[in-house]
Amino acid sequence: MADNIIEFRNFGFKYTAQAEPTLYDINLAVRRGEKVLVCGPSGCGKSTLAHCINGLIPASYSGEATGELLIGGKSFRDLDIFKISKMVGTVLQDSDAQFIGLTVGEDIAFALENDRTPLEEMRRRVADVSRLVGVDKLLHHAPYELSGGLKQRVSLAGVMVDDVDVLLFDEPLANLDPATGKTAIEMIDDIHKRTGKTVVIIEHRLEDVLHRDIDRVVLMGEGRIIADLTPAQLLSSDLLVKSGIREPLYITALKYAGVNINEDIEPQRIETLKLSQTDMDKVRDWYHSVPVSPVRNDRPVILEAKGIGFSYSNGHKALDGIDVEIREGEMMSIVGRNGAGKSTFSKVICGFEKQQRGAIYLKGADIASLSIKERAGHIGYVMQNPNQMISKPMVREEVALGLVLDNRLPKDEIDRRVDDTLRICGLYPFRNWPVSALSYGQKKRVTIASILSMDPEIIILDEPTAGQDYRHYTDIMEFLKELNGKGVTIILITHDMHLMLEYCTRAVVFSDSHKVADAPCEEILTDADVVGKASLKETSLAMLAQMCSIGDPTDFIRRFIIADREARK
């Protein structure tokens, strides 16, 4: 047992502020040099487990621990966060807030500074480790100027500078677009292979992490370890569906086709997957059996942007010659990498920014003369982070805010509309609750409700499901679909390929301030050129289609979505 770097024995933990324990009966051993994924839905205890490993429990979050936890062979009771930080390095999820230093070099050196390392040695070690992760050319840049992927490299360098034994990644994929997420997983794998360090990844996006080999997956649910298996074993079981984790799309497709998934076909990655001739036949038969009915929206155009050009006052050109038509009752997405212009586009539509060229028509009428407030009556905008929107302490007040400020309707009419909205959003039981008592997903609903109460015809949502696990994602998206069914036109700004595929009929792709594609989502995701420009990645479904010699992967995806919608009903 000497080579277990982390070992939980009958470990349990209860936060001081909570009545029930968050972790129960944890028995888990991680061997030196292993690469382990800890997976589970929000609230399953995986973050708490991570905090126990890196010492933030009990340093920042107090509570009661039972049982034993050994880190590097020593009991956690004899260690403190500083001793643990010499053994376990934590890479927090991509967030500007975690950077301490003003420059990349300074940020990487932070741990060394606290160790009173002399300047010369510090410079040398920073140079070494920054070369290892590939940021040595960026030492004088400010971390927040870098792209999401590079930021992650900087935070990794900042913990590796200490020569730790364990690298702990806390949700490394949150906030990264699909292409960057893929590179992040490749980078982690590369560092693991080159340094032989133990790697623990906490993440709920299973398919993305499995892009590279993982030794074991620890599946958690409701504070317990449900399974501790190899990826192949896990995918061969039905545990994922039961615990609310999204299984890889190709696995879902294989299951629909009736293919028996077991360890022998090596299902852990699409690249390793071995399908027999019979299995391929099954997939092809299933593909042909899915009925296609052409979906066409020929309702009138509700919003039209014509030749929109916009540059910021610093001269940065954000939009150039953008033409987009949106039809009534549509649910569509705008995709593209960070800085491609998609957020600016929505700001121009809502009037937060004023375009220099082109015009926007709402039901055929130019809206150039409408103020932000007047536009808001037609086009609602829901920001990504609900905490930035909510300004009233109580749910009811927050949802009523827009109508109260508008000050045109009589009070009982406002009350009636607010009640209606609360019911539609499933928030009626919480109407007199303080907003702070709600979960993140519920807060998101409150922000949507607060926009909905103003009765807009169009709602624009910026990354509505960012950072949400599969269950919350489904909750939010099904709710939006319901709204869409009631006639509200919905525009989603997103990186999430699943979201596009499953809920949108059409996507507009922005790249470098231009529109580069405007097509059904399945066509976008099978066009290698567009996929690259939008920083998306090819879906495993297309690869599965290829593997089974299905000539038209786009059609395969289309039929998969139809079948999937049927199955989920």
Binding site: S85, E106, Y381
Partner: protein, 243 residues
């Protein structure tokens, strides 16, 4: 800088603008600060005149009236000369403050504070506070957009000052919440990397003393000595041309 010696202030003001020029700060970056200090200076002078129209007389001990204005207000040479000193004092200090704020790297400042004996925890919180100002500005902008979209009028002249203040206050709530989250993340990130472990720490951004540093210290000491010397020679803080 306790001196009101006109000759010294004039020299210092010229020097301040030379330093400003040398710093290569673009005017557009500090325009707002400049306007702010200018308005403040004008306001200060008006108020001095309003409340103490003959303050100069009590300082310099003589009274040379030029003209009568209205009520108890007269145009007096001594008062004009005193207020000229006030203006010079502004001109001598504001450029220096602006240069300090916009050219000092917060990390280097923190490392310097620590070196002269300020606890590194305090030095670091100063540096972090400076570092987060742009982040919080961005956040404020985002929040204000979200509120305006719901009909909150921010800059409208149609509304009373009270209502505008109340509207601005309603943006504080989300701003505080998101700042608290930010603080939690940064505090954890710092602790995970050993902040606060030792009594002392080293600084990656520490700069060794160079000739220019010694030179500027000597210049500062000389300027201080000059102002003390002037105090002694003038027999007070003021240079009196009227006797």
């Amino acid at each position: 800088m306790t001196t009101f010696d006109t000759r010294l202030l004039a020299v210092l003001a010229v020097l301040a603008f030379v330093v400003m020029g040398l710093s290569r700060i673009r005017v557009s970056e500090v325009k707002v600060l400049f306007w702010f200090s200018f308005v403040f200076m004008v306001l200060n002078n008006l108020l001095i005149f309003l409340f103490s129209p003959e303050h100069g007389v009590s300082i310099y001990g003589t009274r040379h009236e030029i003209a009568h204005l209205f009520l108890r207000y007269n145009l007096v040479q001594e008062q004009l000369f005193y207020q000229l000193n006030v203006v010079l004092k502004y001109l001598a200090t504001f450029p220096v403050v602006i240069v300090f704020v916009s050219t000092t790297n917060p990390s280097e400042f923190a490392s310097a504070l620590n070196r002269i004996g300020v606890s590194y925890r305090i030095a670091y919180s100063v540096s972090l506070a400076l570092r987060y100002i742009p982040d919080i500005q961005r956040e404020y902008h985002e929040i204000s957009i979200a509120q305006q979209a719901r009909g909150l009028e921010m800059a409208s002249r149609k509304q009373s000052l009270f209502k505008r203040l109340r509207n601005a206050a309603s943006m504080l709530f989300p701003l505080i919440i998101s700042s608290m989250n930010r603080i939690e993340v940064i505090a954890n990130a710092m602790e995970l990397r050993g902040f606060g472990k030792e009594k002392r720490r080293t600084w990656y951004s520490a700069r060794p003393f160079r000739v220019a540093d010694y030179a500027s210290i000597i210049i500062c000491v000389l300027m201080l000595a000059a102002s003390i010397l002037m105090n002694v020679l003038n027999g007070g803080r003021y240079f009196n041309p009227f006797v």
